[in-house]
Amino acid sequence: MSEKERMDGMALEVRNFNLYYGELHALKDVNIAFHRHMITALIGPSGCGKSSLLKCLNRMNDLVPGARVEGKIIFEGKNLYKDMDAISVRRRIGMVFQQPNPFPKSIYDNVAFGPRLLGEKNGQALDEIVERSLRQADIWDELKDRLRKSAMELSGGQQQRLCIARTLAVEPEVILMDEPTSALDPIATQKIENLVVALKKRFTIIIVTHNMQQAARISEKVGFFMLGDLVEFDETRSFFMHPKDKRSEDYITGRFG
């Protein structure tokens, strides 16, 4: 265990976790722990369960009809599924989606949405939160003169950074990202990647990606999934240089997926 890990400990721990969609066994006895202030990438072929696990981490999977879970996810000493309600889980563990999904509202109202849910009504406090969040998402300079304009007028990359700012505004502990750059062009993708790396100082980040180069570029740990199994979980560098499992090696070298 490195010095950093000992200092920071775990943000989330998944223990003996199983997920079923009706008859389908989507996640099989998964054990994985996510370190605080680190970027962990979840990779694997389509349908391997990486996105399903991500959605379980803030209980968005509750919304899928027929979904059923067994096992534990521990967050701050509590079982996410037993000791907390879904609403409070989602306030502490934010999510950024594949498709940039700003609300059809002004840029300001998008960022202020979360704080307002939490009861913040003071205009000055909201102004400060909006500015701070947009600065953290590295988009303040681009947007500061048009905060009252509709968020739908922004480009895809700007929309995605706005969505990240919207998530930051409620000051979550963990940010889950579900292929956040797969709908974006290379330049916008690079901006998001830089942003994600900058954000890990303050947040724990778990990112699902189908792009192995992206995982190699930004993550410190990689979890590789196949058919609902967590095949391998390791430091990013050693995972890509010396995969321990034959399936990991095949995937990395492009033999399938």
């Binding site: 989602r90 609300f103 059809p104 949405f113 979360g114 849910l117 998530t167």
Partner: protein, 294 residues
């Protein structure tokens, strides 16, 4: 090569056809409007434009007031029912039955609704013909329109709006009223316009509910009095009923001219209402979607 040529020729023919059909409908509408308005105002006398027994302005007021009352009932109920169907109802037998009922309701002949209104809102309540009964009868016809447009507008929203809101820790109700309803307001307004259209044009449903007599005293603001214009429980003839009665029953010498003028005024009222509602809807659309939306 031959195939491409044929496809291109076909494409050209269809384009011309669509333009022709669109142009024809536009021409028809323009001709109709010009005819109704010109004919209406050509026979107008100053006495017709007064709030008296010989004028039509009382009926104009009744029409606007009746539509207002009916929207007051049908808009909230219609939107709530629409939200239920789009966001809460589980797919299954019961929801299907509800949908069939709504479809049937919206295609009921209005005279049947009028008789139903007469029995329920007049006979059973032991009241005389009154505007509120008329508004209720019209609501029966217009509520399905608002329900259907609300459900349609909500279902047409991309699912990731709701997901984005829920992922920030919003409850289902917070998501509905803070995100989904505002996002579909421009379209819901379209439903309200259509519903209002039913009220403006309705005659048969009002015959035995709102009644055909109008006796207003514009100095009387005692809401309980039957001559107070704002009393919703007084009887009140609307423009469309006036058109019908002037054409079929009236004995006055200028009855036909009154009917023509009433038609023209009604058409203008509907046009104005539509333009204003569309303007509001357009402004909201611009505000929410920045003009990047259908």
């Amino acid at each position: 090569m031959e195939k491409t040529k044929k496809a291109l020729a076909e494409d050209g023919v269809m384009t011309v056809l669509f333009y022709a059909v669109a142009g024809f409908s536009l021409l028809l509408l323009a001709a109709f409007l010009i005819y109704v308005i010109a004919k209406g105002f050509s026979g107008m006398t100053p006495a017709m434009m007064t709030f008296t027994r010989n004028g039509i302005l009382n009926q104009l007021f009744n029409t606007a007031y009746l539509v207002f009352l009916s929207l007051l009932i049908s808009t909230p109920f219609g939107i709530l029912a629409g939200i239920y169907l789009a966001e809460y109802a589980k797919k299954g037998k019961i929801t299907e039955i509800i949908n069939i009922c709504i479809e049937t309701l919206s295609s009921l002949p209005s005279i049947v609704v009028g008789l139903f209104g007469y029995i329920v809102f007049i006979l059973l309540t032991h009241s005389r013909f009154n505007l509120m009964a008329g508004a209720l009868a019209v609501s029966v016809l217009s509520m399905p329109i608002i329900i259907t447009t609300t459900t349609g507008a909500l279902s047409a929203l991309p699912s990731y709006y709701a997901l984005g809101s829920l992922a920030l820790g919003a409850t289902q109700w917070q998501t509905i009223h803070k995100i989904l309803i505002p996002a579909s307001t421009p379209r819901i307004i379209t439903g309200v316009i259509l519903a209002a259209g039913r009220g403006f044009g309705e005659a048969a449903a009002l015959l035995f509910t709102a009644g055909m007599s109008t006796n207003l005293n514009w100095g009387n603001w005692n809401l309980a009095s039957s001559t107070c214009p704002l009393n919703p429980f007084r009887s009140g003839e609307t423009l469309s009923l006036l058109i019908w009665s002037s054409f079929s029953e009236a004995t006055a010498a200028d009855a036909k001219q009154i009917a023509n003028l009433a038609s023209a005024v009604l058409v203008i009222l509907v046009l104005l209402f539509n333009l204003v509602a569309r303007f509001i809807s357009g402004r909201l659309d611009k505000k929410f979607y920045g003009g990047k939306h259908g």
